[in-house]
């Protein structure tokens, strides 16, 4: 692979519509912070069948991580995030993802990119297997359908200094 690869531990969603808490759990676990999906759902204000406004992911900073929510980003931003060792949660529409049979709003963790092969690798909390390779064109369509929103979760400078 020609690009940075992050060893983000995979987690599946533990309740219906729990994709975002599961993605947050993966990103936190990557940084060595262990929380349950229910704890995360409570913190970000998850509502059954509606979810939570995407910027609420920034509340994870209560647990000493740096969170940057972006209302619009592009593939370069994702690539730069990966190169800096930052887990990226992307909001996508599954109807554009070839491995999905349903068309629903969803969240995945971007864990790698191969720009030569044109592949984005995601940890999808709706599936046991991970990572899943997605052609960059399909990923772009899926991400664009919900406005190219993402949340980047990295190690807090304060936390690093105290470890």
């Amino acid at each position: 692979m020609s690009e940075r690869w992050l060893a983000v531990p995979h987690r599946t969603e533990e309740f219906v519509g729990g994709c975002l808490p599961a993605c947050c759990q993966m990103a936190l676990a990557f940084l060595g912070i262990i929380r349950t999906q229910r704890q995360i759902a409570a913190l970000i204000g998850h509502i059954e069948a509606a979810g939570t406004p995407a910027p609420n992911v920034a509340r994870l900073s209560d647990w000493s991580v740096d969170v940057h929510y972006s209302p619009w980003a592009d593939l370069n931003d994702l690539q730069q995030g990966l190169e800096r060792g930052i887990a990226v949660i992307a909001f996508v529409r599954t109807g554009e993802l070839p491995y999905w049979e349903e068309d629903v709003p969803h969240a995945v963790v971007v864990v790698g990119m191969d720009t030569t092969a044109g592949i984005v690798y995601v940890n999808d909390p709706a599936f046991e297997r991970a990572p899943i390779a997605v052609p960059v064109g399909d990923f772009t369509l899926a991400w664009d359908a919900l406005g190219n929103q993402c949340a980047m979760i990295g190690r807090s400078i304060v936390r690093e200094n105290t470890e």
């Binding site: 219906v16 519509g17 994709c19 975002l20 509502i47 059954e48 069948a49 509606a50 979810g51 939570t52 406004p53 995407a54 910027p55 209302p71 909001f91 529409r93 349903e102 068309d103 629903v104 709003p105 969240a107 664009d144 359908a145 919900l146 406005g147 190219n148 929103q149």
Partner: protein, 124 residues
């Protein structure tokens, strides 16, 4: 009546009823096209992005319906996909400017509708 209007009127008078009808239909087509600067795809994307950002990440815009009128809009249903499936509300997008026609209360109203939908024993 302006010179242009007089000339147009003179041309229309020379046409057969069928030809006049065709010209009028074409003029209507041009007017409708002008009114829809924002297409259905853009309207749906705009609503979906707003829902994820302001209301909840499990909500998405459905298939838009064009509503003609003084201020033509794309009416985009708010689709609930998890738990029970259905439409919780509609969000309008100005078909000319692309402006979302929402206010500060709209997110809470949608959440209330989602709760009512998933709590309703008759919805599916």
């Amino acid at each position: 009546m302006s010179v242009d209007q007089r000339q147009l009127s003179a041309v229309l008078e020379k046409l057969t009823p069928g030809e006049s009808q065709m010209v009028l239909q074409f003029a209507d087509f041009l007017a409708q096209r002008r009114a829809r600067i924002v297409d259905a795809h853009k309207a749906r994307r705009k609503v979906s992005a707003w829902l994820v950002q302001e209301v909840g990440n499990l909500l998405m815009g459905g298939e838009p319906r064009y509503v003609a009128g003084e201020r033509p809009v794309w009416r985009v249903p708010v689709v609930v996909s998890y738990g029970r499936r259905g439409e919780a509300a509609c969000v309008d997008v100005d078909a000319q400017s692309g402006t979302l026609l929402v206010n500060e209360q709209t997110p809470q109203e949608i959440i209330s509708n989602v709760r009512a939908l998933v709590g309703s024993p008759t919805s599916n």
